[in-house]
Assembly symmetry: C2
Homo-oligomer: 457 residues x 2
C-alpha cells in the first residue's frame, strides 16, 4: 500500500512540476484535466470539515442550533483564533491587518506574480446558522489541504482570506473588511462616527477584540494594485434554485446591487391611557406605515428581482402602556438593476416624508450603503465551468441576490463565485444546512479553479 | 416663638381630642373645618419632599433625567428599603407581605375599626419620570407627617401602602400587588407561568429581591374583609386637563376600563437578499399591519374616550438583512365604556386573524388583562371636595383614563383618587413634572381627607 501511495505521489509530482514549469508552452494540453491532475486524485476530508463547522458553530452568543457571532465579540475573537490556527496547521503563512482581516498564504514558485485569493467571513447575524460564510473559509482551507495532498505546488501564490464583519449587525456597515480592502472612500469618517446599540464606538469595540489601532492603521488596509490576479468565493446559495433543480454547482455571473437605509421617527410619546388619540404623534405607527410602504414600493416594480426588507424595527421606550416616542427601522433593498433599486429608494424616501408630515413626527432618513452590482470575470467563470465539467458535476450560471465580500473584492481583482445548494434555500436561520456531499463538490470545484488560476500566467 | 408654638399645639390638641372623642355627638359642628383643624395649621415640607423625589429617582437603571425601575431589580429593592426607612422614621409600623406590598400603619385610637389607607407605587417603566406613583407614596408619608405635626390623633388607623409592580413592564401584569390584595382569581397560575424577556420566572425574580416564598405565600396576600373603610390615592393627572384649565385638584369619579393584549406572529424568515417577495411570509409586516389596525379600530368608535396603543413591537431575529421570522407586539386598550372597549378588542382579534391568513403567518393572540372600570365612593369624593374647599383650592370631577392600583383596591374597599396637574400632561417620559406648589396642594387635600375619613364612624 505504502509503495503504491508513494508511486501516486511521485506521478502527481511529475504531472504538477511539468505543469508549473511547462504550461507556458502554447502546446500544453489543457484539455487533459488541470495541469494533468486527475479529479479523482483530489480528496476532500468532508468528515473533518463537518467537525470544524460544528466546532466553529459552538463559538456563539446564542444557544445551538442557532449561531450568533457579532463583530469583535468574544465569540468572534475565538473564531478568529480558531481560523488562524487552522491556517497555520495547513502550512499557510498567517498575517492580519489592523481591522482583523486574516490572510493565510501559500507561497507560489513565482512569488512576485499577483496571487490567487479565496475566502469569505465567519461572523453570523443573531440566531442564524452554521454555513453562511463559514463554508467559504473552512472550505478554502480544506481546498488548500486537498491540493497539498496531491503534491501540487502553486506557481502564483494562493491566499485564504477571512474577512472582518461581512454582516452589518453591529455597526450597520456590511462587508466592512472587504470595503476597506477595496479602498472605498469615506470609510474612516464613517468608522469614526458609528456606535453600536450599546453606544460602543468602532475603535473601542475593536480595541476590546485586540485591534487597538484599528482607526490609526486604516490607511494600510487597502490592497495594493495587482495584489490578486483572481478572487474566488465559495458560498451556500442562500436561495432554493440549485436544490429545486438538482444542480450541484452555481456559477455566479453577477452580484445584485444592495442598499441599506436607517430611518428614525421621533414623536412626543406619553401615557397610553391618558393621551387621547387626536393629541398623539406615535412614532411607532409611523414606522409601521413605512415598513408596509417598503413592501408596496418593491411590489410596484413588478420585477421578480427587486426585494426589500424591514429587518429592524425598534420602539422606544418599548413599554405596553407607553406611546412610542421614537422608532428606529433599518431597511434592506436589492436588485440586479441598480437604476430600478435606486428609484425604489427614492419612493421610500418620499413615503417617509409624507408619513412624518401627516403624523407630525420628526424624520431622520439615512442611506447607509448604496452599492453598484458587480460582474464576475469571464476567465474565472470559465475556470469554474471547466472544474465542474472535469468533476462531472452539473452546473448553471446564476445571479447572486445576496451580497458577499466578492462584491467589493471585484473592485480590486477579477472576481468569481461558486454556489452550492442549501436546504430549502434557508439562510440566516438556525436550520441553514448544506450536505457533506454538496460541500465536498464545492470544495473540489474551488480547488481545481484555484489550481488552474494559479498555474495560468 | 417657642411659647407661641407650644400654644398652637395646645389649642390643636384640644380641637383634635375634642374631635376624636366628641364627633359622635350629632350636635358636633362639622362645618368648622375638619374636626376643628384649620387648614393653615397643616404644614407640608415640600422642600424635603422634593429632595426625597430626587433621591428616589437616583435609584434607576437608566441615566437621569430618565428613570427606569423595574419590578425586583436592584433599583426597585433600593427604593423599597428607602420607603420602609421613611415610614419607620415617620413613626409608622412597617410590615411587608410575601410579594413585597409594603404597609406603614399609624395605629388609631379605635384600632379594631377598619383602617383608612392611602398609597401608590414606586416602580417605573423604562426611561420614564420621577412622579408617576412616587407622588402617591412619598406624598402619603408627608401627609401623615403633616397631620402628626398638628398633634392630630387618628381614631381609625391610617395606613400608607407601597404597591408592588403597578407597571406591567417585567411580567406583562399591571397592578400586580393590588390585584393580589384584591384577591383576583387565577393570579397564582399566571404567576407560575410568566417569565420576563430574559426568561427569568416570577418566583426566581422575587427570590433575587428577597421574597423567597412569593408563590408559597400568595394565599396570605389578599386583604381580609373590612380591612379598610376607605382607600385614597394621590397621583399626577398624567393628562393635560388640570394644567390647561388652571385647576388645582382633580377629583376622580371613575377609572377607565383597561385591557392589554399580547400578539405573536411567526413566519419562515430567511435571507433578505435571496428570498424573493412572493415566497415570503414576513412576520414583521403582519405586526406592522396589526399596529395600524389597532389605531383604525379605535378611531372607528368615534369616541374621544377610547384609546389604543401598540407600545411594544419586537422583531426576531432583528437584523437588517434578515426577513423577520417572528414578531411580538403588546397592545393597550382603554375606555370608560367597558362594552365599547371589548368590541374594539374583538375587531382587533378579527383583523389579526385576517392578516395572519393573508400573510401565511402563524398567529398567537392573547388577552392578558381585561378589567372592568371602577367607580369612586361618594363618601370619599365628598371628603376630597370638602378638603379642597377648606383649602380654598379649585377642583373638578374627572375620569382617570390611566389605570391605578385604586382600580383593584376598589374591589375590597371604598375608593377615591386625588389628581394634581402635571407639566403638559406628560407622563412615562423623563420630562414628567409636577410643581412643588401642586404637590403641596395635593398632599394637604389628602391629609384633610384622611383626617375626615379617619374620624368618621
Amino acid at each position: 500500500m505504502k509503495k503504491l501511495a508513494a508511486l501516486v505521489i511521485l506521478i502527481l509530482r511529475f504531472y504538477v512540476d511539468s505543469c508549473t514549469s511547462d504550461s507556458a508552452h502554447p502546446g500544453y494540453p489543457q484539455s487533459s484535466g488541470f495541469c494533468g491532475l486527475q479529479s479523482d486524485e483530489l480528496i476532500v476530508d468532508s468528515f473533518r470539515l463537518q467537525q470544524q463547522i460544528d466546532e466553529l458553530a459552538s463559538f456563539s452568543d446564542s444557544s445551538a442550533p442557532s449561531v450568533t457571532r457579532i463583530l469583535y465579540s468574544e465569540a468572534d475573537v475565538r473564531a478568529r483564533r480558531y481560523i488562524k490556527d487552522l491556517m497555520d496547521s495547513s502550512g499557510l503563512i498567517v498575517r492580519e491587518d489592523g481591522v482583523g482581516n486574516i490572510f493565510g498564504r501559500w507561497e507560489g514558485s513565482d512569488s512576485m506574480a499577483p496571487a490567487i485569493a479565496t475566502g469569505s467571513h465567519t461572523d453570523a447575524i443573531p440566531f442564524s446558522g452554521k454555513y453562511d460564510g463559514v463554508v467559504g473559509v473552512l472550505g478554502a482551507i480544506e481546498a488548500i489541504n486537498a491540493l497539498n495532498r496531491t503534491g501540487f505546488k502553486p506557481r502564483r501564490s494562493l491566499e485564504v482570506i477571512m474577512f472582518t464583519s461581512e454582516e452589518p449587525t453591529r455597526f450597520g456597515i456590511s462587508c466592512l473588511g472587504s470595503r476597506l480592502l477595496a479602498g472605498l472612500p469615506n470609510m474612516k469618517s464613517s468608522l469614526e462616527r458609528v456606535v453600536d446599540k450599546d453606544n460602543i464606538s468602532f475603535p473601542d469595540a475593536a480595541a476590546i477584540a485586540g485591534y487597538e489601532f484599528a482607526l490609526e492603521t486604516l490607511l494600510e488596509v487597502p490592497l495594493k494594485e495587482d495584489t490578486y490576479a483572481a478572487f474566488v468565493e465559495l458560498h451556500i446559495e442562500q436561495g432554493p434554485i440549485l436544490e429545486e433543480e438538482g444542480i450541484a454547482i452555481g456559477i455566479v455571473t453577477a452580484i445584485a446591487a444592495p442598499a441599506s437605509l436607517k430611518v428614525d421617527f421621533r414623536g412626543d410619546g406619553g401615557h397610553a391611557g391618558a393621551v387621547l388619540m387626536p393629541s398623539r404623534n406615535d412614532a411607532g405607527l409611523a414606522a409601521a406605515e413605512l415598513a408596509l410602504a417598503v413592501e408596496k414600493h418593491v411590489l410596484e416594480t413588478q420585477s421578480a428581482d427587486t426585494v426589500g426588507t424591514t429587518g429592524v424595527l425598534e420602539l422606544y421606550p418599548g413599554a405596553v402602556n407607553s406611546i412610542p416616542s421614537a422608532a428606529h427601522i433599518e431597511i434592506d433593498i436589492r436588485d440586479i438593476d441598480e437604476q430600478r433599486r435606486n428609484s425604489v429608494i427614492q419612493h421610500i424616501k418620499v413615503s417617509a416624508s409624507e408619513i412624518a408630515t401627516r403624523r407630525h413626527v420628526h424624520l431622520d432618513f439615512q442611506i447607509v450603503t448604496q452599492d453598484p452590482p458587480a460582474a464576475s470575470s469571464q476567465k474565472i467563470v470559465k475556470a469554474i465551468e471547466s472544474a465542474s465539467q472535469q468533476l462531472g458535476l452539473t452546473s448553471k450560471h446564476m445571479i447572486s441576490r445576496a451580497y458577499h465580500d466578492s462584491l467589493f473584492m471585484a473592485r480590486v481583482s477579477p472576481m468569481g463565485m461558486i454556489f452550492i445548494p442549501c436546504y430549502r434555500g434557508y439562510s440566516h436561520r438556525p436550520d441553514e444546512f448544506a450536505s457533506r456531499e454538496d460541500l465536498s463538490n464545492g470544495i473540489k470545484v474551488l480547488a481545481l479553479s484555484l489550481l488552474a488560476l494559479s498555474s495560468d500566467l
